[in-house]
Amino acid sequence: MTSRLLVGTEKGLFAFESADRADWRLVSPDPEHKGWQAYSLYAQPGGDVFVGLSNNFYAPHLQRSSDGGRSWRAIEHSPRFPEGSDRELKQVWSVRAAGDRLLSGVAHAALFESADGGESWEWNQGLEGHHTRPDWQPGLGGLCLHTIVPDWNNPDRLFVGISAVGVFRSDDGGRSWNLKNKGIRNLFRQEGQPEFIGAEDTCCVHKFVQDPADPDTLYQQNHSGVFRSTDAGDSWHPIEDGLPSKFGFPIVMLPGKPKTLFTVPQEESFSRTFPEGRFGVYRTRDGGLSWERTHSGLDEPNWGGVLRNSMVVDAGDPPAIYVGTSIGDIYTSLDEGDSWRRLPGRFPRIESLAAVIE
């Protein structure tokens, strides 16, 4: 069994290999797609690997690999706004399989769908036509559709996350959408305003995941805190006891252990570094009621951060957690965070990860 970890960075894509997921070898010191930012990576279960590439010079686009990332082919008809559009594609932020379709999220926020395995894409007009669209504003990372979560229990239900707009849910396969932000902390609260926002007030969702045991339960790392919903996004409730900060980007859940999640707090929005230079991957084993810092093996001091697509869990037994920092370190844990091991090398800013077990 060979495991591969694909590392998307600011300057290209690197690959590691391992026979046991304990010792890792960098396949080549030279990256694939040198000079391209790799904002998104997606290893489709039983299928190809997709990478979303962009840079300052040329068109953002998707490439695909049928051999675990060893070779790549550019998708000629990648997601793209039509000629004459006033919209401009900036980056490809997400790719995800939803039944027999593939979905892709981009900046400036839009959702694309493919019915032919990713070779061509159509712009989803249901989300584009949402009545709040004229009010959408970007976050610091841009106006990006970064998270796609197809409901594993209901093929007609989809969730997407857009910065800095919020979580949308569709109950009809993507034809229509509703904004689901009720209960998120009001980041710009003025005197006399409520502490938490309404469903259609906008906010900056950073990442969210769905409980594999309960489809109505979701967990979200937002700009303003960490939240849980038990009603498919109709309402959210803070779950932050034990976290040093409310701000952070990634959130992942262990497969088979739906109450065990990990998030990586950053000090606050202005600095975006680990709190006091102390790198910690925070773990909850009770669905967010309490959190504890895991850090054995994580270097300190460390004044980096972890971006939203830079923490993943593989499908192995036991599952391995991988985390890549904004200053180029990569760590992995095979014991649910009790200990971390650093992979060799230091890389450009890590923007995405994907784990492939062959």
Partner: protein, 114 residues
């Protein structure tokens, strides 16, 4: 037919070809002849149909980024170049108090003949 020369970074999208034969009466037609939906064309033009911000396009010795409707002859060669980031067209002062115009350094060294 005219030719289009592309930077090495785009060679990966053309099976390594750096010089492509194009068709059309104007510069825009020539770029469009790459294919209306082609990824290579998208690498050159934005959705609005203008040359991407950090690219230069030369016809002979002229930078023609805003003149894609220029007529194109059968022997013409178009050159796509990445912009060199940084630098300035402003003059800078040297220690000796003389000034140096940096704008000349931004033009490609070799002569591009029509």
């Amino acid at each position: 037919m005219p030719w289009l020369r592309i930077p090495s970074q785009l060679g990966r999208f053309t099976d390594g070809a750096r010089r492509l034969q194009v068709r059309g009466a104007t510069v825009r037609d020539a770029i469009d002849s790459l294919g209306p939906e082609s990824l290579l064309r998208a690498h050159l033009l934005t959705e609005s149909g203008v040359l991407r911000q950090h690219l230069h396009l030369f016809l002979g010795e002229e930078d023609i980024r805003d003149r894609l409707d220029l007529a194109l002859g059968p022997e013409d060669e178009l050159y796509v170049l990445n912009a060199m980031s940084g630098g300035s067209t402003l003059a800078v002062s040297t220690r000796a108090g003389q000034t140096t115009d940096l704008s000349a350094l931004q033009r490609p060294r070799r002569s591009l003949r029509r």
